[in-house]
Symmetry: C2
Subunit: 435 residues, 2 copies
Amino acid sequence: MITLNSTHDANLTSWVTSANGHSDFPIQNLPFASFRIHSNEAFRGGVAIGDSIVDLAALASTSLLSGLAQQAAEAAAKPQLNEFMQMGQPAWSALRAALSQLLSSDNSERLPAHCLQLQSQAHYQMPCHVGDYTDFYTSIHHATAVGSLFRPDNPLLPNYKWVPIGYHGRASSLDVSGQAFHRPSGQTKAPDASTPSFGPCKRLDYELEMGIFIGQGNEFGHPIDIDDSHQHVFGMCLFNDWSARDIQAWEYQPLGPFLSKSFASTISPWIVTMEALAPYRSQYLRPESDPTPLPYLCSDNNDEFGSMDIELECFIQTETMRAAGEAPQRLSRSNFRHSYWTIAQMVAHHSVNGCNLRAGDLLGSGTQSGPEAEEAGSLLELSKGGKQAITLANGEQRSFLADGDTITFRGHCERQGFVRIGFGQVESTVLPAKS
Amino acid sequence: MITLNSTHDANLTSWVTSANGHSDFPIQNLPFASFRIHSNEAFRGGVAIGDSIVDLAALASTSLLSGLAQQAAEAAAKPQLNEFMQMGQPAWSALRAALSQLLSSDNSERLPAHCLQLQSQAHYQMPCHVGDYTDFYTSIHHATAVGSLFRPDNPLLPNYKWVPIGYHGRASSLDVSGQAFHRPSGQTKAPDASTPSFGPCKRLDYELEMGIFIGQGNEFGHPIDIDDSHQHVFGMCLFNDWSARDIQAWEYQPLGPFLSKSFASTISPWIVTMEALAPYRSQYLRPESDPTPLPYLCSDNNDEFGSMDIELECFIQTETMRAAGEAPQRLSRSNFRHSYWTIAQMVAHHSVNGCNLRAGDLLGSGTQSGPEAEEAGSLLELSKGGKQAITLANGEQRSFLADGDTITFRGHCERQGFVRIGFGQVESTVLPAKS
């Protein structure tokens, strides 16, 4: 159980003044990334504060930290956060508490100048080595909407309310915000064609997801009890799990999506920790007519990660909009609190067969669509399977993505009595297929 | 194109006399593994010869090699072979040629004693870091047999003869021969039950597969042309992709197998290189009525990896047999030459969407069942979906695996004019479910 503590205090402010006000990164947030400023430098861990980054490699070489916080900073100073993630909740909390004190307005001492860098000058890489990436399917609204396109009479499969459905994803093609990728080519078959053909994907789509990073892993053969799951989850990011719908439709039987997903998946660079997210937990109330999950998916602690109140937004900026200097236009809003399965349930389910999760493993939440049609997390849903193109403010129409389209996700949490914290953003542009 | 050369000469013998005769590892084979003798030593690369191992760390510190072969040995001397695999075909060939000369009976000099260790004293680990593991489904006989259990009238799905079907697997739970795992628990639903239940898997099965290791990777966004695929494939091993059939049946719609596969997957420790396998290429003749694959899956080089003539055997030894001192009993024989899709086609397909393969990535071939019922690569097929238990020589019956059962795969290649080479074996025992 992660308890609220002085680091969550809404009255805290920082001497990094850009953190006080409308920043995604107030002192109550303190998310982690792997960054560098110059291309000839090593990547190292950093913590966002306002418009700046605390350089953990620089900080760890001062004498400002001690004990577990210092050990944690040394681990987090490495190019990838895996070792820090493996240290577990006490180490994460110790470093957070120490950073909160160091950055607080109440602290008369400032950090040495070389310990702070500007985000505007930073380059990011994957925050950790992802040993395995697993994608879940936790939005019942998404599952129902997509299912109804294929099976109008029976949109939700019988296992959905029992099994936190998931599948193995591709780790090699994960990258951080700014990832450029060419429209994938592959096999597709038109419904009226007798044979498939090869060519660029015609139904390219985004998927509005959250990413969940495993902290401490479990040993092979030792499932994680749902009540211990908080010790094994480090934090969350925004996640765009790009999808080629036409390739998927032809390839996915009987073993699931493959090339329709593996061409690219993009995350936001900052990992917001579960401790920072603790104030925004919320309760998901299943309809009473829904089955009670099997015991291994029920928590004595009232499922502490419960659902999480994370407001999500998806924006598009087409090439035409960019040329005309028009700002990105919002396509939809949704919220992670609609997730039918909680993070604790995903972790317990994933490991119940003895499968070992490792520090840095990434879980995708699946597309987070809300209960209303306009809260859909993909174009497939917004355009009703491509049948009703949506019209943008400048008159352009989209059923699926066009070359040059930039898709941006943003996310934030707010709750009465606490400050607003944000996730930054994940942004990527579709390049034309390679000829 | 890998050409035959002096290392394949059937007349070659070694001064390591155990290599001459009935060994899996004659001088024409020279497969790679990661091994150590004592638990306080570092793992390092080794090459099998007869009953011995050439210790590449020891060899690299002598002055017996030079040039590219020495560089290759230094890379292969590390605890994991990834760096060596990334060096590419010229480096692999240079080291093979140099080892062939050093170990040849014609060579008057013996290796220093500390460069040779006994396999009987060795412990193995995964030969490389597997960044991603992908499982294919290349046996049309397996796909048809399994499909007919679910869809008797339409066993083979319409995409099978067009798409080399594959899905992402779990890398964390891969291990080498000897891997011990407990029978997995999970959700299953009996056909006549209205709700699922939780408990140990009742339909535990093996899958007789080959593993294929990627050598040099491709860059993100740059597909591998089928005619270049030989530059990207390092070698092959035996592979048991354990499966929980009852868990799979309930979970796999719509996103494919997940917990039914991720609890364990076991490989043989030795990777036989594609160069060693070159003499055993064979041609797969599709029925003329089958469609010609799309152009990206057709090779100008007559698909050089073509099919590969690898004889495969699966053995069972039950706890009762072990107690009675009875040898393992063969359950089935099959051959990798029946694979409907070649390795070159798997590699070209996997990367055609821009997905990057990395050195050390593992591809599973999918269960290799032959055209005859007794050539099935799984108990699911041998027992007709569990409906007809098979009777062992001692009277025991098996529809699926029982606790204490040991499953062993062996594999070898032979062809007129060449010596027989083998893969060693992969062996693992089912432990009872954890209570």
